[in-house]
């Protein structure tokens, strides 16, 4: 039985009879849990509930819902209700909402928002100026601001005013001069620390106040805030104007979202916009099909290469049966190198300028790992495929060394090269590296055979 069957009718009735009591009840529950509950309702019931709740109660629930849920709800709610809820949402979540809606619906709600809360509408326009994954898009305008000459007492008054609106966390009080110039910040614990209310706040400002411009990428903000353990980061535009702050909870969301994208790219899937079960089959076919087809065309070259070397393979009976084994070793070692480097670049352990150090290490690693596989491969041919002879076993061993060295170097340098030209290193996905190394592997196999069997063993007739 769905929760909606239990909760739906009673809730609707209670909302009609005594909305204040429902509100008091809901205030006891964390908005995050309420948003989970509302998600479980039938969409129509959820839309009715959200429309009937006071906007300041509905907003924290609504802004915690998944984007696809918000989209569905908005389509079922009166635009007036949505505008009221939007006016109570955090500025960044509000901008994300309008970003999500189709133009007609978005315009209709926006016009109403402009009447209900012109300032909130203006903030949306401000935020929309910046790229979707930039610091400007994470800005909230809910923070305590006082003039630079304010006293401790002034700051306490300002904090209380904001807490009248809602009881959300406050970590800093910002000293802002005319023209919205940020001149300092005082932590809220400093207000508790001293008794003298006439003390100038400027005496208490923290050292090393950091800030970011609005156009910096959200990943860079996340890196700085996590490095310096910051709970808030002010955003200042090129003219020195403070646009708002980024809070640490948004940064955690950014880290999780960017990580999902990286993992999906590594698996050769275009990043999903919504969770797995909410992605339509059509979207999946697009997001997976593109890379599958690209990689498939890439793999055509393995057939072309094998056919090209037909005279060689015709001489070496049974050699083609070793091809998948050999080329997969290149793909696997290449996958290892590329994931190590992609992650190292993402967390900042590896810089693109370190490419020659990476190359040195990976060459050495390729020789060692290829050597190990080479010995195993050599022994395997000698023991289980004795008819092929020592020359062939040696060819397999040498091929493995060559292929693993190639896998390690290609797998490590390609992400660095992508980063250098400004592309996302994670695009050099594991399957992509594997495909690239597959074709090279066939060439290395044939060249090794020519060298070992032709040159060393003087086998006649090898083309």
């Amino acid at each position: 039985m769905r929760l909606s069957h239990l909760l739906g009718p009673e809730l609707k009735q209670a909302l009609r009879e005594d909305p204040e009591q429902v509100r008091a009840l809901l205030d006891e529950i964390h908005p995050e849990d309420l948003s989970d509950l509302v998600s479980e309702l039938e969409p129509e019931d959820a839309a009715e509930l959200m429309s009937r709740l006071p906007a300041e109660t509905a907003a924290p629930i609504f802004e915690r819902m998944e984007e696809h849920e918000q989209e569905e709800l908005v389509s079922l709610m009166p635009p007036e209700s949505v505008a009221h809820i939007a006016s109570e949402m955090e500025a960044d979540d509000r901008a994300d909402l309008f970003n999500l809606l189709d133009e007609d619906r978005g315009d209709e709600i926006f016009r109403r928002l402009e009447r209900v809360d012109p300032e909130a509408a203006l903030e949306v326009r401000e935020i929309e100026k910046w790229p979707e994954t930039s610091a400007g898009h994470l800005v909230t305008t809910r923070y305590v601001q006082v003039p630079p000459e304010a006293t401790l007492g002034d700051a306490i008054t300002a904090v209380r005013e904001l807490l009248e609106e809602d009881d959300d966390p406050i970590y800093f009080i910002y000293l802002v001069s005319e023209g919205d110039h940020l001149v300092g910040a005082v932590s809220i614990r400093s207000l508790v620390r001293y008794d003298d209310r006439s003390m100038p706040l400027s005496k208490l400002t923290i050292a090393n106040l950091m800030s970011v411009p609005p156009d910096v990428d959200q990943e860079e903000v996340a890196r700085q805030m996590s490095k310096y353990d910051l709970s808030e980061m002010p955003v200042i535009d090129a003219t020195g104007k403070m646009l708002g702050i980024i809070t640490v909870d948004d940064i955690i969301d950014v880290l999780t979202q960017e990580q999902s994208e990286d993992v999906q790219k590594l698996g050769a899937v275009e990043p999903l916009d919504v969770p797995y079960f909410h992605t339509s089959i059509v979207d999946f076919v697009k997001k997976r099909g593109f890379w599958l087809i690209v990689l498939f065309f890439g793999e055509f070259f393995t057939q072309t290469a094998l056919r090209h070397y037909d005279p060689v393979f015709a001489m070496l009976q049974g050699a083609t049966y070793y091809v998948p084994l050999l080329i997969s070793a290149g793909g696997n070692s290449g996958s290892q190198s590329s994931t190590l480097i992609i992650r190292g670049l993402a967390v900042g352990d590896i810089k693109p300028r370190d490419w020659y150090r990476v190359l040195g290490r990976e060459l050495l690693m390729g020789i060692l790992l290829g050597g190990i596989l080479g010995v195993i491969g050599f022994l395997r041919v000698l023991m289980l495929d004795r008819d092929q002879g020592v020359g062939f076993a040696l060819t397999i061993g040498l091929t493995l060394v060559g292929i693993v060295v190639t896998g390690c170097t290609v797998g490590s340098l390609l992400p660095i090269a992508l980063k250098r030209v400004g592309l996302d290193p994670a695009t050099s996905s594991t399957p992509f590296i594997a495909s690239l190394v597959d074709v090279l592997g066939i060439i290395i196999f044939v060249q090794s055979a020519r060298f070992v069997l032709g040159t060393l063993f003087g086998q006649p007739g090898l083309p």
Copy 2:
């Protein structure tokens, strides 16, 4: 020129002449930046600097350094200095340090710590009880604690006492009864909000105070704290005793670390303990070699399968040249499915009980994606390899459908199966799925040929 050449001698001289002045200077710089600077020094200089600095200045620098840097420094510093620094470190970082040191060295320093600060030593023993990736290992004991009957004024006094020690953030004041039982928490903004110092704190406690037991996994704590936007999470043991709090900055580190491990596992590398450039070649050979060898043995079966079907391939001239192309399509689609499912499981979008829904979607996706590749493959044979005929082209097409369906189902169900039996889904790495599907792909190819060429086209003599 290395920074140490510029900074080293002057710093050392200044430290000898006027350590207080150096300390005042360093207080201006964020400990995170200082730790970066110290990392740039020659190890011997860094060790001397850390030993000469007052312990309360050195501790925040030291605890921000990488583990391998801490290890090196400790080996160069007098145990007495390390003990003093350890006593000033956060409890969780202190425990991590002892976790890191070899037994002799650790015991020597621990004995000194017991003399310098018996309470800090006891905390290490407390934390060490819990598994390394559990909540208990992230606990800090730096928090404000008052009795349940305390007033607003008592809380302010308690906050001021803690701020005398250091000016680190304080977000909550915890109401703790006898026997260390947590009964409530008040946010620091509530202390600013009200003037009446005689107000009982119990009136201001927040609703929905959450806590975790110490043995819960750190990833679960991170998930809860990010879901509910918490800045702190109290840790309570089975007897109801409060052990300390986990702070949000530790959670961000946990997220980053767990993500690195997931990505490395996806690339078939055993997770690294230290950054790329600090991992020794020997460690790399172990962490990469293990999986490379496992996968290599797995791929032996491709050669075995191909040789097993030798009579079939002998009939189908040129068919073996298509094998890498065909089986790579299975590996690629399997990689896509497995990364999607692994990530979905990690962020909670997919639950193991959803396996039949996943299977349904992936079967459909496999048919669609396999169909697309099948058509491309069919056309490719007809256009570029015309001698092979329509029957062979059809075989390629059908094989691709079968292989992609297999890739999607194996790639999606394996991570779920691993999760079900309590293993990490990320262990079913991309190369692992690819190897598994490679062997299956060869069997599907041969069966398709038998069906299309033998049964449908009645080609004689196909074994």
